[in-house]
Symmetry: C2
Subunit: 138 residues, 2 copies
C-alpha cells in the first residue's frame, strides 16, 4: 500500500524501510533514528503502521516510550481498555508490562519508539491480537 504523501510529510521523521515479520499483523515501516549501541543505550526508531496493522502482544524488560507523530492508533495493556492515540500523545510502557500497539482500521499511524534501559534485554514477543479483540476497539 502506498503511504499518502500528506501523512508522510506530517510525521516529520522518515518512514524508512518496509518490515514484514512474524510479530506484525501486516506491513509496517521502520526508520532507525538512533541505532542500538552502548554509548547512548537508547535505540530510537520511527515506526509506521499501515491501516489495520498492529504488533503482537509483547513486553520489554527495560520498558519503552512512544511519541505519536501521526494518524490514529491504539495502545493496550493486557487486562485494560485500549487507549486511542493521536499525534502528540506520549505513552510510557513500564518494564515487563504485556501490551500491543498499532494503527486504527482506517488510518495510517506513526510513532517514535524509544527502548529504555536496553541493557535489560530484548522484547519478548507473544501471541497476536485476534481479529475479535481488534474489531471491538473504539
Amino acid at each position: 500500500m502506498k503511504i499518502p504523501e500528506e501523512f508522510e510529510k506530517r510525521i516529520i521523521f522518515p518512514v524508512g524501510e518496509k518490515i514484514e515479520n512474524e510479530y506484525f499483523s501486516g506491513t509496517a515501516w521502520l526508520s532507525v533514528l538512533v541505532p542500538p549501541e552502548t554509548t547512548f543505550n537508547c535505540p530510537t526508531f520511527n515506526v509506521t503502521f499501515e491501516p489495520g496493522v498492529r504488533n503482537n502482544w509483547h513486553r520489554h524488560p527495560g520498558g519503552q516510550i512512544l511519541l505519536v507523530t501521526g494518524g490514529k492508533g491504539y495502545f493496550q495493556e493486557k487486562g485494560k481498555e485500549a487507549r486511542v492515540l493521536k499525534e502528540g500523545d506520549v505513552v510510557k510502557i513500564p518494564p515487563d508490562v504485556k501490551h500491543w500497539h498499532g494503527a486504527a482500521k482506517d488510518s495510517w499511524f506513526s510513532h517514535i519508539a524509544i527502548s529504555t534501559n536496553m541493557q535489560k534485554g530484548d522484547a519478548e514477543w507473544m501471541e497476536p491480537v485476534t481479529d475479535e479483540e481488534y474489531s471491538k476497539l473504539p
Copy 2:
C-alpha cells in the same frame, strides 16, 4: 514573543511553559514529555527556542539525543563547524562533548531532547556563545 500558530501546529508536541534561566540567551519553552525518574531513566523534553535564542556551551555526562521537530537551528561541538538543523534531523551528542544548540536568527526552532544515561549526572553549564561566534553562522 508570540509563537506563530503554523509553527506550533507543525512541531506536533506541545510547546509547554516559558523558561528563562541563566543558561539560555533569551526565552525558550519547555514541555516535559517524560519526567526524570528511575523507571525509564530517559527524561524527554520538547524544547522551543525563540528566534536568535541559544543555550550556553555545556556538556552532558551521559550524552543527549536531539530530534528536530521544526524550524531552523544550529548544533555546534567545540572546535568544529556549526551544523545547520532542520526538521527531521537527528543529533547524537556523545557524553562529555562540549556543545550548544539553538535557533537561527530569523527562525523559531524546536527539538525533542532525550537525556541518555541519566544516572551519570546532570549537564555541566559553561560560558555563553558570544554574539561574535553566533553572527558568523551560516
